[in-house]
């Protein structure tokens, strides 16, 4: 609600937001701590390798051998969604690999702003790889704002251009299954990553490799190769421990004290 002023004295936070503000502040503090440690070269826990991320290079290699392009889509949402933002490091990595192997990379998007950002990322990545001539603006396509229209267009592209690898990294709605089956029909190797829990079952069942939930954010940080960024992933893990402790504490308190448990009342102040 819009809060019109203090009835009970001055407040820093809006009513009911103490819990979420504290958790967010703790997360930011942990991230800053990890960043400082990384910048100073101090030790941090090592990240385990995500198998699905290692497969990116393999997918481009497969496409090269088959003489077919690679396709990537960041989903059907706009850059306000963190999942879309997380797709750009992957796009850069894919473009660098495509440049090394001299394999065409098709990129389709369902948002004009994502299209503009992706176009810049791809162009810059080809320059970074030392192959600026490989950049083809015709391979970066904005298809439609509407998810189903976008899916229909991608299905047509798959039929005509028959990509050998399909990377779906972002937020997807009901069109996810359409894209999966279209890729399967042309025999593409498929990697999917999303936090959209509605579509995860389809991706897990229908794709060769899947990154579930936060793994996509971890992948985005780890492919960058920047130790400063990967340090923030450690903060995520620590925060997850905090949440787990809170869940246990809340469960115990709720069992003992019922709906009037003090932790809940305090966090919702």
């Amino acid at each position: 609600m819009y809060w019109n002023g203090p009835e009970d004295g001055a407040r820093l936070l809006l009513p009911g937001y103490l819990g979420s503000a504290l958790l967010a502040a703790l997360m930011v503090a942990l991230m800053l701590l990890c960043l400082i440690r990384a910048r100073r070269g101090l030790s941090l826990p090592k990240l385990r390798r995500l198998p699905a991320v290692q497969v990116l290079e393999e997918m481009v290699g497969r496409a090269t051998e088959m003489g077919r392009p690679v396709h990537m889509t960041p989903g059907t949402d706009d850059p306000r969604n963190p999942q879309v933002l997380a797709s750009f490091p992957i796009l850069r990595q894919l473009t660098l690999a495509a440049a090394r192997y001299d394999t065409p990379l098709l990129h389709t998007s369902a948002d004009q702003i994502v299209y503009a950002l992706s176009d810049a990322t791809i162009q810059q990545s080809y320059i970074e790889a030392g192959r600026p001539a490989l950049y083809d603006p015709e391979n970066v396509r904005f298809l439609s704002d509407n998810a189903f229209a976008y899916a229909a267009a991608v299905m047509g592209i798959f039929r005509r251009e028959r990509p050998a690898a399909n990377v779906m990294f972002g937020n997807f709605a009901a069109e996810a299954l359409l894209l999966i089956e279209a890729g399967a029909e042309v025999g593409a190797m498929q990697l999917a990553a999303t936090s959209n829990v509605f579509q995860l079952p389809f991706f897990v069942a229908g794709c060769d490799h899947t990154l579930i939930g936060e793994e996509m954010y971890v992948a985005a940080a780890s492919v960058s190769g920047d130790p400063v960024l990967t340090s923030t992933v450690v903060a995520q893990d620590w925060m997850r421990l905090v949440v787990a402790v809170l869940v246990l504490a809340g469960a115990v308190l709720r069992t003992l004290a019922g709906p009037a448990d003090p932790l809940r009342r305090w966090l919702q102040r």
């Binding site: 609600m1 819009y2 019109n4 009911g16 189903f148 709605a173 009901a174 829990v197 509605f198 919702q268």
Partner: protein, 278 residues
């Protein structure tokens, strides 16, 4: 080529043909299955039953034309039930598509209730849409008229409409129930801005695919009720004595479910008998 080999390379169009046959047969001769109401649907029914005559209900439509077949009967059943209780219904939407759906369904329901057919602005109103659902709902908790720029779906002014004058703010004092009909994550702003801070009971009408995702919120008490998919709609129709529209869907989907199970079993049998090849 052996049968197993043929099945391993089965043209998927045969499977599509099977879907077509099953859905056509199921639509023309739907098996009549009246499901027993689940606790979640019964909770939704009880919430509507608890709305007193003249009580306020805020209904947020988030789904588009793609989910219309599944959610329109559910929306119609809930609106019909609320109209039979004499509730005052405020409809709002996330997109132009959703607002037209809201208008279409409510207009058809209103034909059965004279107080609603002739009572626009008093017994019900369609506020139209405003993008950014979290912004719209947050603003509505401070002032509904201002949140929707003082105009309704058709561009008429909200000023002077008794329903808006009597129910100016989306809070517990004015509203007995809030509903979100959605096919994605549109229920979340309703919980964050209406359910938890304003303490208005929130119920969700969702497609069947969304029901598992709503379970944590239902278990935590952040959602008071969930009507899930065609089955939930059929259950609600039976409970509330509303015209049966979803029952056809339940019958057809039952046949389709059996078909999918058979296909799954066949695919597994072929894979394992054929040596695990795809």
């Amino acid at each position: 080529m052996t049968l197993i080999a043929r099945l391993q390379h089965l043209d998927r169009r045969w499977l599509y043909l099977g879907v077509l046959v099953v859905t056509v047969v199921g639509s023309i001769w739907p098996p009549r299955i009246v499901p027993r109401p689940s606790p979640a649907t019964r909770a939704a029914y009880d919430l509507a039953q608890a709305v007193p005559p003249g009580g306020g209900v805020f209904i947020y439509i988030e789904y588009g034309l793609g989910s219309s077949e599944e959610l329109d009967p559910m929306l119609a059943a809930v609106l019909g039930h609320l109209a039979s209780r004499g509730a005052r219904i405020m409809l709002a939407a996330r997109s132009p598509e959703s607002s037209q759906i809201a208008e279409r369904v409510m207009t058809s329901v209103a034909r059965r209730f004279p107080a609603y057919e002739n009572g626009y602005g008093q017994t019900w109103v369609n506020l139209g849409y405003r993008p950014a659902p979290d912004v719209a709902l947050r603003a509505a908790t401070s002032g509904i008229g201002a949140a929707y720029n003082q105009v309704d779906y058709a561009g008429n002014t909200l000023r002077g409409m008794s329903i808006v004058d009597d129910l100016p703010v989306l809070d517990r004092r004015h509203f007995d129930l809030a509903y979100a009909f959605d096919s994605g994550d549109g229920f979340a702003p309703m919980i964050y801005y209406v359910g938890t801070p304003m303490r208005v009971p929130v119920a969700v009408g969702a497609i069947s695919m969304e029901v598992p995702v709503l379970q944590p919120y239902l278990a935590a008490g952040q959602l008071a009720a969930v009507i899930g998919g065609a089955r939930g709609a059929a259950e609600y129709e039976a409970l509330a004595g509303q015209p049966e529209q979803a029952n056809v869907l339940v019958g057809a989907s039952a046949l389709a479910a059996v078909y999918v199970l058979v296909v799954m079993a066949l695919g597994n049998a072929v894979a394992h008998l054929g040596g695990g090849r795809r």
